[in-house]
């Protein structure tokens, strides 16, 4: 294999493997920046994948080429609604946020597979009729060498990078973002300044559901193209790792997700590269997790969580 082909395969698989991770990780950034730990990202992806696949199968004949995009919208809405459970439990009911997240994961998978079995009579849906396809970007595609590599991918991959930049702008350049972050650092101080802590946290958690659903929808409509219990297996947790490895920063999370996407694609196609053929593939598969632990331990830059992350806010308590 010549260098250019290898490079092309790597870049393309990195872009398509990381897009769902970027979306979901952005959701995690919003939630955790507001002080709500979200272990339920995995479940939110599951419910998003479920919603997108079912919608795609049901409405493909009516909507045609627009189906996967509308399905993504539906996945975002369902994901947002589903995450309300986590919001109610962890913000209003003062539940342990980690436990509530675990419950979200159980519920999403249970409910999704239950309904699939009920509706399709099997543990797996049929293939979706209208998945996403590689699209050539006009003009840019004609650039020699890099054009066919960088500008012939899923549109969702570009969308992910674009949304990450918007998320960065919203979190760090708008009053809304400042409020959201302040609620995660010191809720009491924020409350004294007249910020509604509960409202901000609800918004943040629902945003994480919207993004998680979007991530799941993208994953199901580009990579697996159907839904079963095995559709989302750990991608939500890789996204969570990306949140931490990216230091709770939207662009950092995007970079981490791109890197983890690369590691995942290397694990699958690595054996065809001479240098990587000797590396046992479990190391490549585990790379995101090992690196995250190292980052947390301070070996790769210090990763500090938002100060009030994981603590329910109880009005009037010090």
């Amino acid at each position: 294999m010549d260098v250019l082909t290898a490079f092309e395969i790597l870049v393309k698989s990195m872009l398509f493997a990381s897009a769902p991770l970027i979306f979901t990780a952005l959701g995690g950034v919003f939630s955790e920046r507001s002080g709500v730990v979200n272990i339920g990202l995995e479940g939110l992806m599951v419910i998003g994948a479920f919603a997108a696949v079912v919608f795609n199968i049901t409405f493909a004949s009516a909507l045609g080429g627009a189906t996967p995009w509308v399905a993504l919208l539906i996945a975002m809405i369902i994901g947002g609604l589903f995450s309300l459970l986590h919001a109610v439990a962890s913000v209003s009911f003062r539940a342990d946020q980690v436990v509530s997240g675990v419950a979200i994961n159980f519920l999403a998978l249970g409910l999704g597979v239950y309904l699939i079995k009920d509706w399709y009579g099997a543990g797996q849906t049929p293939k979706i009729p209208v998945p996403f396809y590689y699209e050539r970007i006009p003009l840019l595609y004609d650039i020699p060498i890099i054009g066919p590599i960088l500008f012939n991918n899923y549109l969702t991959s570009y969308l992910a990078i674009f949304v990450a930049i918007i998320a960065w702008f919203v979190l760090f350049k708008t009053p809304f973002g400042l409020r959201l972050r302040s609620v995660g650092e010191h809720p009491m101080a924020a409350d004294t300044m007249g910020i509604n802590v509960f409202k901000m946290r609800y918004i943040a958690v629902v945003l994480s559901g919207v993004f998680g659903g979007l991530g799941g929808g993208v994953y199901a409509q580009t990579i697996t193209q159907d839904f079963s219990a095995g559709t989302i297996t750990g991608q939500g947790f890789i996204a969570l790792a990306a949140v931490i490895f990216g230091k709770w920063h939207p662009l950092g999370a995007m970079g981490a997700a791109l890197f983890f996407g690369l590691a995942q694609s290397l694990a699958i196609i690595g054996s065809s590269f001479p240098l990587l053929a000797d590396v046992p593939n479990w190391i490549l598969l585990s790379a995101p997790y090992i690196l995250t632990i190292l980052a947390l331990a301070g070996f790769i830059g210090r990763a500090d969580a938002p100060k009030a992350n994981g603590q329910p806010y109880i009005k009037g308590s010090r």
């Binding site: 539940a95 159980f106 998978l109 239950y114 219990a229 632990i293 331990a297």
Partner: protein, 350 residues
């Protein structure tokens, strides 16, 4: 997590949570066009209706007790071990490995294989414990990450080290097996094995260590208030590591039960078995005490085993039980609101 509640609330909250979970399950069945009474009857007859099913249920309860003890032990020291799933996997593979690698008389071989599971689980939990104690790294994230590392590492070991590029290992020899011909004939050839005795023994050890020893007192004390414990002269860091290690050992033993008893071999896991995550629910529902954990494990064993028969007898998909379990966890986690409502009810009655 129930520290702030009174004694009767500690018992009432789990019971109410289970009832609410079952009610939500019934509603889900109704809405999707099934008869909930038929569904739950099928669940019960599929878990306790015949000798075979009882055997299978007991077999299912065994790892749940270990997983519940593992999560609960860490909880009592104020640590959240979500890594039981991974610790269980490494325990599973280690015990099978020792079972296959040696040729010894059963009195030595079986204990050695079981011990290997415990040691592997303990080592796997030692890393997050150490990172927490020395560098204040949050154990939740590290244990989640360790789960996936365990999954990939174990799959690699099964495929390339223990077996000859197969998807499963060979069966462990009789000398390292927990299989019980006695129970098998008693329960119409279910896969029930001797592990349940070890699980009950582990629950007793859990109780004695935590409630009756100085070490246990220190561990619990660190769980209540780290600063006060430190001021009283306890070594908080040592206790954090110790708690994780013991927790991991329980989890590893649970894995050994699967490796040496239920299955008798190791295999490539496409995804997690779920026992470790269910252990979180078992520990929470059991209020982190030994007797409660056994009861909660029994409940989950019945639910999980009965669920397998539900599609055949009543048409209800197996996953209904996952929904019920999720709802139970939600309610136990939101115990604050249940306690609050209970108090309102009580005041209203007066």
């Amino acid at each position: 997590m129930f520290n702030q509640f009174s004694r009767w609330q500690k018992i009432l909250i789990p019971v109410i949570s289970v009832i609410l979970g079952l009610i939500v399950g019934a509603i889900v069945m109704l809405v999707s066009g099934y008869n909930p009474i038929e569904g739950y009857t099928a669940l019960l007859s599929g878990s306790l209706g015949e000798g075979f099913y009882i055997g299978e249920t007991v077999r299912q309860i065994t790892p749940y007790i270990f997983a519940g003890l593992a999560v609960a032990f860490a909880f009592r020291t104020g640590l959240f071990n979500i890594g039981v799933e991974g610790q269980l996997l490494v325990g599973w593979v280690a015990s099978v490995w020792v079972g296959l690698a040696f040729d010894l008389p059963k009195v030595i071989h079986l204990p050695m294989a079981i011990l290997a599971g415990a040691v592997a689980g303990a080592l796997w939990a030692f890393i997050p414990g150490l990172l927490k104690a020395k560098l204040r790294v949050h154990e939740v994230i590290v244990t989640i990450m360790m789960n996936y590392i365990a999954l990939h590492l174990c799959n690699y070991l099964v495929r390339y080290v223990i077996s000859d590029e197969q998807n499963t290992t060979d069966r462990v020899p009789e000398s390292a097996s927990l299989k019980s011909p006695f129970f098998e004939t008693l329960t119409e050839f279910s896969t029930m094995h001797y592990g349940i005795f070890l699980a009950l023994a582990a629950a007793i050890i859990y109780f004695v260590v935590l409630e009756k020893t100085t070490t246990g007192f220190e561990l619990r004390s660190v769980g209540f208030n780290q600063h006060a414990s430190e001021y009283a002269g306890m070594n908080v860091n040592r206790n954090i590591i110790l708690s994780m290690v013991i927790s991991g050992a329980f989890a590893g033993l649970g894995g050994a039960m699967e490796g040496l008893g239920t299955f008798g071999y190791g295999f490539i896991h496409g995804a997690f078995s779920g026992v470790g995550f269910d252990g979180i629910a078992v520990a929470l529902l059991g209020g982190n005490v030994a007797s409660g954990i056994i009861l909660a494990a029994a409940l989950f064993g019945i639910l999980k085993q009965g669920a397998l028969i539900m599609p055949l007898q009543s048409g209800v998909p197996t996953e209904l039980v996952e929904i019920v379990i999720a709802i139970i966890i939600f309610f136990v986690a939101s115990s604050y609101i249940i306690a609050y409502l209970l108090q309102r009810l009580r005041k209203g009655a007066k």
